[in-house]
Amino acid sequence: MKVSYYPGCSLHGTALEYDESTRTVGRLLGVELCELPDWNCCGASSAHVTDEALALSLVARNLAIAQKQGMDVVVPCAACYSRFKAGEREAAAGEGAEAGKKLNFQILSLLEFLVDPGLLEKIKGLKKQPLTGLKVVCYYGCLLVRPPKVTGARNHENPKKMDELLGLLGAEVIPWSYKTDCCGGSLVLTRTDIVRRLTQKLFDKALEAGAETIVVACPLCQSNLDSRQEEISLEAGKKYEMPVLYFTELIGLSLGHPDAGKWFKRHFVDPTKLLASKGLI
């Protein structure tokens, strides 16, 4: 199977382990990820709050490249995904000559793509190491499923796809009420005080629920949650040390890929102790 792949800037930088684990899982499942040639910024960072036309043009160029490739586009970053979907919507509903144009491909978040029944079956078949005993909460953040009118997600208040996937991998998935709360990702540079409050709440609630790790599908959520814990600990006078993992890392681990250990080294909060205690690495 071949699909177009839009890594976005994060996966080429801060979220390298997300990119690597994604490509690894793709290989294991027999999926060829064809990176969009000459892709550009998705417009999520600053363009969309400063200039709507610019933001849409940035997406439009990416979409045009994808259209040429003619394959479904898989987007691992939630922010990029949101922009792509917004672009798609604009293309369908917008004004002018382009109005009503339907794309010849689908835009899928990486999570959406991997929970396709066929791939799930494959994952089930290839599973070598069930994540038994690992207590996780799944965190989808704001942009992966919302706004529903853009993403088309059915369960936008209580998404379940990642929960189901991790359940299939054998992890103990704990239901909680904060799956789609904001982590403050867009305010990391401007209002760190708010970000600290929001992330601390997420950690508190995850701990309350009895989770040992938060699993994410967005590089911004990951870096924000992962890197923020030291600060919060200092402020709260209480040690926060909860690994924040990409769901692709856990798939790779469960499918027994030897590289899995390497990815974890890039995390601020080292997950190896936790995973070792469960006999997973």
Binding site: N155, H156, E157, N158, K160, I174, P175, W176, S177, Y178, E208, A209, G210
Partner: protein, 1512 residues
Amino acid sequence: MEKERERQQEKIEKTGAVMIVGGGVGGMQAALDLANSGFKVYLVEESTAIGGRMAQLDKTFPTNDCSMCTISPKLVETGRHLNIQLMMDSEVMKVDGPAGNFTVTVRHKPRYIDISKCTGCSECAQVCPIITPGRFDEGMAQQRAAYKLYPQAVPNAYAIEKRGIPPCRDACPTGQRAQGYIALIREGRYEDAMRVIKEDNPFPGICGRICNHRCEDECNRNLVDQPLSIANLKRFVTDQVYKQPYIPPDPLPYQFGEKVAIIGAGPCGLTAAKDLRKVGYPVTIFEALPIAGGMLRVGVPDYRLPPLIVDREVREIIDLGIDLRLNTPVSNLDDIMKEGFKAVLIAVGAHEGRKLPIPGTDLPEVLINTQFLRDVSLLSLGMHKDPAGKEIRDPKADIQNRHVLVLGGGNVAIDCARTAVRLGAAKVDMACLESREKMPAHPDEVKEAEEEGITVYSSRSFKRILDKDRHVAGVEAVKVTFMEFDQDGRLNLETEEGSEHVLPCEVVIFAIGQRAGLAFIPESAGVGVTRMSTIAVNPNTFAATRPGVFAAGDVTTGTSFVVEAVASGHKSAASIHRYLRGEELEPVPLPELPVVKLTKEELQERVASGDVRVTPRVRIEPRPVSQRTSSFAEVSPGYTEEEAKAEAARCLACGICSECLCCYYKCGLGAIHHDMVETQEEVQVGSIILSPGYEVYNARLSQEYGLGRYPNVLNALQFERILSASGPTMGHVQRPSDSQLPRKIAFLQCVGSRDQDHPYCSAVCCMYATKEAIIAKEHEKEIQPTIFFIDIRAYGKGFDAYYERAKKEYGVRYVRCAISRVVEDPQTKNLWITYIDDAGEIKEEEFDLVVLSVGMVPSASTRELAKNVGIELDAYGFAKTDSLTPLATSRPGVYACGVFQGPKDIPETVAQASGAAAAASEILSEVRGTMVARKEYPEQKDVREEEPRIGVFVCRCGNNIGGVVNVPGVKDYAASLGNVVFADENLYTCSQDTQEKIKKAIEEHKLNRVIVASCSPRTHEPLFQETIREAGLNRYLFEMANIRDQCSWVHMHEKEEATSKARDLVRMAVANANLISPLEELTKGVIKRGLVIGGGLSGMTAALGLAEQGFEAVLVEKESELGGNLRHLKTTLDGKNIPKYLEELKAKVTKHPRIQVFSNAVITDFSGYVGNYKTNLMVGPRMFTREVEHGVTIVATGGEELNPKEYLYGEDQRVLTQLELEGFLHGDGKRVQELKEIVMIQCVGSRNEERPYCSRVCCAEAVKNALTIKSLNPRARVTILYRDMRMYSMLEEDYARARKAGVRFLRYEEERKPEVAQKDGKLEVTVYNPVLRENLSYHPDLLVLSAATIPADTAELASMLKVPRNADGFFLEAHMKLRPVDFASEGIYLCGVAHSPKMIDESLSQAAAAVSRACTILAKDQIQVGGVVSVVDPEKCAACLTCVRVCPYNVPVINKDGVAEIEAAMCHGCGICASECPGKAIKLQHFTDEQVMAKCDVIIEVLSEAFRGERV
């Protein structure tokens, strides 16, 4: 055109019947009104019982009356009305024809219980093993598949819920009801489970062990975890039952003479034999072997199927009376035919094994599967000869300590291999053509074989068997790369070149398939044989090519599974039966239910809601290999009882009813018919009323609130059930997660209302949340309810007072904040809510329970209904109507009422239903009375001079009474009592045939008093009274003893005492019966004329309604002109022209030949009673007196707008009321253009201490005027200062429209009302804004006051009519919920603003309702009065006025003789006067002091007998 249409309309022959769709409170009200005013009614209800939503409610606001107690009499009345035909479980499919004469096609869904036979005894439900979440309790309590919707349900009959055929049953060739016996295992009812299995399969023990259980492959549980272990559960049942010693069945009687021969005593032959024997044929089985059972006995090794099981199951069939001839091979078919058999079934199976045509198969160590296994079996039985009479060579001798290779990959190959292991082979291997994945053997079997040391070589083809000195020396094989059987069964094979190799072995067993031995069928027999060596048969009938010869099982199909053989046995037997009876041989196809394939989503939802738990199947560990291989003992130990019950509990009950037939066998009335099918019927009616009601919004769609995800979030209807004493927690307030008392409860308003998908207000939620908060608090003082709301819409009569009471007396906390989400604490399951408090602070608060005030939405089935009937719906699915014709739908002759017309509460639904009844009958007035049944009775016998001859009928009520009380004992006891000349007992005294029995007994034994000792007179007294009346006895010669509800039910575990109490109750009834006497009912005529008081909208509409119904109307108006308040209104919110409407209405009224209008008229005197009133009037400026005689009275005195005393009204001419503004806006358009700023103040004179009620109409009036201003002058700024915007129901849309148009809405607080002053010649309005927390000022050009609506001054009228008013001066109806337009005094009705402030459409509906109610009287020629009424003994009366004061209906008067007089026509028979009268001058007939004393005497006697020790 118009005239042409009219003429056509006239030509239509009208039908005097009305169909009502929907049996809720609205449907029932309409039905009763119509049936009581001379029309036949068909009441179509899709569920199994009438009652609708109201039956589910606990209490009703604002009176906190019990909902069920209120509705129950209506249910009973509707259920037994002679002219209401209930069509339960039914839907309207199509409506043809014109108004006046519709042809309606109605579909009746199967109920599986015959309503006419069912007595509601509940025994079917008691034996039903299937549990489902009960709908009535909103999924919170369990219900059986055989169920009655709720205890008081009407019709009092059970129903069976079927969803379809469970996939397990569908997958099984025999149609085994697996779901049924699994449920019975869960309940520990193993004998019943065995019976269920045997309905379809006579070999439970066998199939429980060796079936290939396709049922498990199809199990819906596959979607969530693992399928049920159905085969093991089946085996478990047999393990349990076969523990008991075998009791042979009684041989069956013969019904037919034709002898049937069956060749072969295998599973197919035995099944057919059993079926045919059960039908009543003499059956003979011919079996070649020395033992019966076929392959089961000699083909399946003992370690898989213990021989004892086969023997037992075979014996059970043979013992039915079947002639089994063992050792009798049939050598020639013709011999059998000659013996006189009329039909022959060939079921010889496939017992001949095959070898491959390769070199070396003639070596002595080459064995064949079937022979090998058969020899092992026969030898173990001590038999040494095979069927051909040859000595059997012990295979053990060939195998022991040798290397065995089995060729083949099927189950038989595995059997051979594992048998070889057990016979002591040195090593056993298997080799087969198929790949490992495609091996036909069951994977579990392969796994167990491997565990036992067997090696499987898959994908091999065999070249030859190596011969070394005439002994087997191995098999030469090649690797197979591809294999496939084509459509004709030919093998396509590709092998790998050069892959030849030798599989070492010393013994070879061929296990590559079996076929039938057909030597006994020579070509001359006329029975065709196929190329595959099977008998050719028609697959539907199993008939072979020779008439009378049938064949089934493996002999027709080749080797197959046991279930297949059983299935073909059943089918061939049925076919033989048809053949012998000379019927069409092809079976008639039966309509089948759909197969229930659940979706993953549905199951996940059930998992999420806790209904299904994800649990893997309960595993059975096979015995350890070491124990297995050394003997032929059974490998699997089977389930223990505990394991089996746990496994059985995993069943999803996909089909709901499993057709286990427990109910069928239990029902003593033959009321259960599992083969019922859907039927259609065409019904002629003149008009149609639709009242299908609503669903509550599915709040799971609003995921942010967590319904279905968080256990402690409920919807309001669920909470209603929790509050109800008959609900899942028996009225104890508990939260679902831990059954603890929730101390803090949050109610979230507007869930599924006032949102983007539902831009309307559901009209009732504010009040029901308030009610639920109050009732919860009444249940448990500790509960602290908080209601989160947007506006409190307490707009109805008495609602605001109720809301204030909730706040002040009950301490219900109200927080004005819409809640965006609920989060759950994972440990405590408590719920957190974030809101903004009064001070503007963000607060987080924890609650124990959250109740979602869900809105009303039309259901999918109502959309379907609308489509079928052909009427238009609005955007949300409510019926499309408009404000001036609120009852009419888009199709003439079809009317709508209740929530279907728009969200509304119970009284408005009831009023609208009566209104719809009036509209539906108005077009049929000329055919009134043409279709109603009138019952003719025989002449009443005069028994007054006779000695009492009492008959007592004691009821068993199935087991309900009979299982507790010793009914024969009670009967004998009754017979021993004085004056009892006859006593009898019945299984069900209320059943139809028993009524005939009672009538016959009355005749034969000359009974003149009848007692039934059974259930409650509340439900059953009228039935028995009817029965004795039909036998010529006066109804009042009946007496009842309640030995069920008040005896056997409450003393279920004290049988002795219950019997003793039942005797005492009967003795009391007899004591009473001795004293009862026939009561006479008087007949009075009805004056067919109505008096309507008040000439406004309601009064004119009512008068016109009466006239159109064919009755005379007298309309009395105090002013000189008709029209009332309508004269001041110009438009409606939906843009209708009111002045035009008013002119047309006035013209219709004044010109109508049956209406007489008196204007400038006052009522001076009022007297009489229902049907016969007399009213004196003074009319006109010259005050002429007039006397009017009329049968009914309608009060429509209306109200008016208050003249405000505040906000500078009357002092500054820029201050207007809304009505004045409306006049202004429709006056000089120029002045409107000049307006820049308009401020409106709501609640002026309403919702204050002086007038604590909401005037209801002012919010809509303000919005209407604001919109008018905006449309005329869009730049004008309009600001409405309000407390709550009460834009209820569809008005919410107009509220949104106004906001969109730029009208500004600002809230003010009751404590800080706006202040108005004149400053520099300008008006200044200052108001504190609670959101901004500061004062705002306006300088409007116009200040408009939304002044209160006040009732007309009716003090004098009320006292003349003797009807009550409430503290606010509005008239008070008989019952706030169910009698909204009736007064307690019969024959007097009210409507319009006289009742309470209301909108135009509401007044119109209510006026029509009053007409409808009035017609129930006017339609009668006579009314019956008397019976159970109070009578005064004038000799004893001291005219003390006690009775006058205590009567709730104001009936007693002191007459001209100076003594009390009670008009029988007006008396309700409540007995209050009789009990209060100090002089004992008043007697309530049928409940006289003597009667009551006689009953009390019995109690005293009983007590003294007990005291003397004469009783147990």
